[in-house]
Point group: C2
Chain length 346, copies 2
Amino acid sequence: MKKEQRTEISSLGEFGLIDRLTKDISLKNTSSIKGIGDDAAIIQAEKRQVITTDILIEGIHFDLVYTPLKHLGYKSVIVNLSDVYAMNATPKQILVSIAISNRFSVEAIEEIYEGIELACNKYNVDLVGGDTTASPKGLVINVVAIGEQEKEKIVTRNTAKEGDLLCVSGDLGAAYMGLTILQREKQVFLNAPDANIELAGDNYIVGRQLKPEARKDIVDFFAEQQIVPTSMIDVSDGLSSEILHICKQSNVGCQLNEEAVPIASETYNKALEFGIDPINCALSGGEDYELLFTILPSDRSKVKQHPDISIIGEILDENLGVKLFTKGGNYHDIISLGWNSLKEGD
Amino acid sequence: MKKEQRTEISSLGEFGLIDRLTKDISLKNTSSIKGIGDDAAIIQAEKRQVITTDILIEGIHFDLVYTPLKHLGYKSVIVNLSDVYAMNATPKQILVSIAISNRFSVEAIEEIYEGIELACNKYNVDLVGGDTTASPKGLVINVVAIGEQEKEKIVTRNTAKEGDLLCVSGDLGAAYMGLTILQREKQVFLNAPDANIELAGDNYIVGRQLKPEARKDIVDFFAEQQIVPTSMIDVSDGLSSEILHICKQSNVGCQLNEEAVPIASETYNKALEFGIDPINCALSGGEDYELLFTILPSDRSKVKQHPDISIIGEILDENLGVKLFTKGGNYHDIISLGWNSLKEGD
């Protein structure tokens, strides 16, 4: 909210606000027949569709003390696109509902929309509808994303088979360490508002928390290489939680090799500085928005070419359980300690 | 929250709660390929689709002092189905995001879901996805509805033509009077918790507020009679606001005949009792969820057969403006005083 002008939302009303926020939006995809401005958007799907929704609540999913509004808008879209990519599909449309209290100005809402439109442009997605309303307190953003893929290429969580290789894109745990740093700096700021906030040097991990990306490039790589993963999920609640989802729904076991889990050096060092075992950032931290997937062993050589995909384990018979094989040569059961906004103590 | 048992949400966690809430859900529509349980739902659309979303916020859209949770769940679905019917389409799927504070028990959330499932069963719609999360305070429900219709039969707001007849289903203003009564009784209750709440005799209007229905029957009637309205919108913000949407987007004028506007006798009498001009309940009250539409003059005789459709005016040239022709024989400009959660003073 750096801009100096402050226009009260009440001076525009719902329809005036929607007009102002959406005046520059044009539709990019041929399947988007009609966007904002009627009782509903109109879509002509060309393939089978996938549809997902996520709700972000101030005080639960984000803290405006350290989250710029533009980043928040961007991230609210990304977390949904990530779910679409996790189905091996291409996102085409989003709808956005925003509830806002009158402590926000029109300019503040415009910053959120700038982030939303930035994500739409980068990922070639159309904003086709939504809802804008008042909130007595706090900010709520609900995003719906719709994607498309041919029937045979949609990938679900429940189709991993014994012998498949377990893979993950990118690196894990950085978003969690980024959040840890932001929360520490918030405390410093609250205790001494004039103190210098030290985020320099932590750009990578803080960026992973505040401005994540969805792995469009990995889904594009699958298409180019004619790979169809045997199962896939996005890593939003921590690696442990996602592996357990795949194994439980596919009725299989798994061995995860600690040594193979990709952790960026920035994450690793920062974890040690905070006295956290780096592997736990990957296993139980959330919001990485990487893709966790299984492939046929025959696709190993294709996947090995890709510098940003790691083979981290193997799918086993269900009776062998879901195990972490540690660097020390021990086996531990993988249990879910993932980020979970409803669990006790979180 | 009449049930005696109280299970804390934190004792189940997000996935446990979702499992419990969705265990009895089965898919009814052939276009619903996969529902809850993956990163996204999968849909195989058979026709062109329409998609809409509405967010309901505690303290803005509903007051739990007089709104039973089951009714709230039901209504949150209905308001979205109404938007789908307003496109002359048939709803097929919904997704529901709920954010809840820990003042709610699992049993309370189950009551909301009972209402959601009741609406799904009545309107033959599948609940295929959603999100469930914590809220620091208050209850938020976001519903997305997806419907289908042949390309040629989808009806938008911007296609009314001079000479078309303006029609509305059902009667108007009752939901607004229902809300007025509930707010009065809430005040009585807050001032004297032991006082008798007098709602008997007002069942119709209170029911229109707490448990509205969507006009599936009208869209079915159009199909049977081979009527395709020339434009359509649902009445959620009051008749004035909706007429202005049609006229503005279609670049036409309109004459609305006060005498023809359908107002139930219960609404009429209650409005007089509260010192409100009954026509204003219809023009500016909201949440009727009736369908406002225009038809070709040649469809007049078909529409006249239907006991629950009123012809309330005529579409005119744009230069003639948007006018109310009063019972007293005067013309007034129609201006939007509709319910608008973001406008000043509302």
